[in-house]
Each structure stands twice: as C-alpha cells, then as structure tokens.
Symmetry: C2
Amino acid sequence: MSSRPKVIGYLGPQGTFSEQAARLYQARLMDGQVLLQPFCSIMELILAADTGRIHQAVVPLENSLEGPVALTLDMLAHEVDLKMAAEIIISVRHHLLARKGTVLSDIDRVVSHPQALGQCRAFLQTRLPRAALVTASSTAEAAKAVADSGSKWAAIGNAAAAAVYKLGILASDIQDNRANATRFCVLGKEDCREPTGDDKTSIVFSPRQNRPGVLYEQLAEFAGRGLDLTRIESRPAKSVLGEYLFFVDIAGHKTAPDTAAAIAAVAASSSFFKVLGSYPRWKEQ
Amino acid sequence: MSSRPKVIGYLGPQGTFSEQAARLYQARLMDGQVLLQPFCSIMELILAADTGRIHQAVVPLENSLEGPVALTLDMLAHEVDLKMAAEIIISVRHHLLARKGTVLSDIDRVVSHPQALGQCRAFLQTRLPRAALVTASSTAEAAKAVADSGSKWAAIGNAAAAAVYKLGILASDIQDNRANATRFCVLGKEDCREPTGDDKTSIVFSPRQNRPGVLYEQLAEFAGRGLDLTRIESRPAKSVLGEYLFFVDIAGHKTAPDTAAAIAAVAASSSFFKVLGSYPRWKEQ
C-alpha cells in the first residue's frame, strides 16, 4: 500500500497571507508528500482538522495591529479537541498591484480588503487621492478582480497574489505602520512531543471565581519558578459578564519539570483548563 | 442667560440596545435638561465627546458572548483624552417582532443583525425552519424594515424597537443563551470625582518589556494590598507583535489610599499608562 499524502488546510483563496504561512510551514516540514488545500472560512478549516478530514490546519491567531482572532480562540477553547503543533509569524507587507503596463497616474480605483485599505491610508491619500476605494473579501480576491478587469484598477495585496494573478508591483511596502505581523498556529490531533530546546507552551484556563486574587496566585506559579509568560489574552467565558478565560503562552516545553509543575498547579485552581500544546518558538530562517 | 441643555450621544438609530443604555443613564441623572442624540458609528460618537461637541457619550465596552469592543478600547488608549464617568450593564433580550396581526405561522422571512440571528439559532431552527434569514446593519434597522414592508416578515430586536416602530412581540426571550449582557461606559471630559462607597477604577498600561515577570509584579501591587481586579483585558500595543496594553478594572475609587498607591506603582513600571477614571459600580434598581 502506498502512503496517502498528508493534507494541510489554510484560509484561501490562493495568494492570501494564510497561504504564505502554510507554504513556509510546508517548506520546514521537508516532506514531499504534503499537499496544501484552501478553505473558505476559519470555522470550516478548524472543523476539518477536528474531524480528521485534513491532517493539520494553518489558522490565524493574532495580528500586531488588530489583536486576537476571536473565532480561533473561542473554537479552540469551547468547540474542538485540537493541539498546537507549531507557530508561524509573518510580516504583513502590502504592495500596490496592477496589470502589467499600468502606471500609477492611470489608476482610478483601488480594490482590497477593508483592513488593508485602512492600513495603507497615508499612501492612498498622498499618492492616489482621487482613486475610488472599493472593498473585497480578501486581498487575494482583490488581486483576482484587478486581473479580470479591463480598466485602470489596482489592488492592495502581497507578492504571492501578484505572482498567482500575473500582476505587476507598482509600489512596494505601502503600509502606514511597519510593525504589522500576523501569528498563525498549526492545529492537529498532536502537538510537538519532543522538546527542541526553545519551545513555547499554550494553555487556556478560567480561574475559580470564589475569591479575589485567584488569577494573581495562578500567575505566581509561573513567576515563582522564573518562567516567562510571552502572552496573556482574555476572552469572555460565555457564562456571565465578568468571567473570563485566559490564554497564556509560557516560554518552555510542557515536559520540563518546572513548567509541568506550574501547569499542574494552575489546572488545580481553575474551573476550566486545557493544554493547547507545546511547539518550537518561530524563528526567521 | 439660560443654561443650555447637556447632550448625551449614543450609537443609533433609535431602538438599539445603546439607546436603552443611554435612557437608563439619563433616568439616573435626574436632570430634566439632558437630551439624547443618536450617532451613526462608534468612532464618530467618541470623537464628538472628545472635541466637546457633546457632553458625554454612551459607548459599548464589552459583551458577555462576543468579548471586548476593540474599537472602543483602542480609541480610549491611543486616540482620545476621555474619562469614564459611569458604567451601565444591560441584559440583551431578543424578541421576535412583527406587524400587528401577523401570526408565527405566517412568517417567511426573519431580518436582524448577524449577531442577533446567530444568538437565536435554536429558536429559528425549531420554530421557523423554513423562514429565509436576512441581515441588517442593526436590530433597530431590522425592525424599521419590517415596519416598512407589506409582507409576512419578522425582525429580531428589543422591546424598545417594537415600541418605536409600532410592532407587536410574537415571541419573547428567544435567545439561545440567557447570559447575554453588554457593558457600556459613559465617556466625557471628567470622571466621577466623589467616592460613592462602591466604585470601580479603570486603568490602561503597557509593562516595560525589559525583563520577564513585569506584569506579574505589577499585579502584585494590587494583590498585596487586597485590591480585587474585576477585569483584565489585553489589546495589542500596535508596536511589535508580543507587546500588549492591559485594561484593568479595580474595585475601589482612585482616591482611596491603597488604590492610589497601587496605581502609582504600576504607572512607575509602565512604558505607557493612563487612568481612565473612577465611577460607581453599576447596580440594578
């Protein structure tokens, strides 16, 4: 019997930042048998991994300007039984894309996702003050619309979208704020069991609400052992207003004795608790 | 000279949950000279208070199911100089509204805000499985559309919208989850200077990122003094991925000696710090 290829899902269509993250992850796996498959929504993508239709899903988790992706966090906490096997961080670089031969002074319409249009406001106001701004459901959809149009349109999108839809790059790095990065996680039925020496562990918990200061005492389990928390994110517990879940990322693998002891203590003082997984810290290569 | 009436803004149109919150606040002010004015967007509403065009703005802050209103938090931190003078918490109760004389078996279309449709999914699936679901920009807009239509349509909205648009209530409390509450804040140039004996104080800060455990030490300033934190919410600092602002609510007025000392210590160890204000804890009357 020949082995079936592993399928990794991402948020499509082709040419999105999610596809760029999935390709980076695929390259690091060094497994020629891995296929990428686009999905139409984050919910569909996560459910496909949870039901085993795909091997893993590459899902957006947080952005440095927009904050957490609430749907991803809420599904991880409440709806699925999935582990984080990796993180991927990519810089969001926006370019102005147009059909080849078009010049900047021709452009009378700019199409993109509303967030991308918002993130390039200064460029649009100074360089294309008379262009109409039109929204699309993703930067890749915008690039496709420009490729299909006969007019003097431009899209805001990434270099991958330019390649997929055979567009030229009229202007590079047109975003207002250079600190625009998105963190993705790779979700599947297993996390990364073997420590690499530079790992992170993600947990989610809800402190027992019976007395003040419980969260502080829970954080003391980490601080007292010298464990660094790289992120604390709160989400509503969906029970009553004022009860929260906390998503905490800890520097270190869950099998390290100190980390394991801190996690066990937090689990014991929580009304809800899940280890989302241990995985190598992302490094640029 | 006669005194000009104070204007309090809210997120319109008439019949929204925001208007309901603004009316509750207006009733407690016991000032016959207060007028309410609807605004089209949260951004416009907050800017109107910041520039002094209106006296105060009633703005949504968080919902027990959906989480924080990111735009409100980000504008309070980064863009305006406003104080929280009050909080208002209302239960979100969804009803099925239709023109008078319509019965449930007539309904072939249900119009509402996508969140309201989502929050009433079980009712719609069991009681109106064949009705088409149509989205509107707010529950009040949905009620208006039903009032204007000649057909067998229904809206999901609140009792105030039924009154404003002269609709009947075909079914009450149709939401799946009863724990649906929204917390609003009242923003203006001044917070509530006089302690009432049961107050909260809201601050926002970004811990200095120079070493691990800073946030934990900052929380120790409250825990060590027996001060209860009723909420911790993180938002991206909008500088680099992994730096966060924390919105913290403390039980107690900022003028109480322990609270003042804890706040001063947190300010000293933060790269960014603001007191958003002290205000009475909301109580049902």
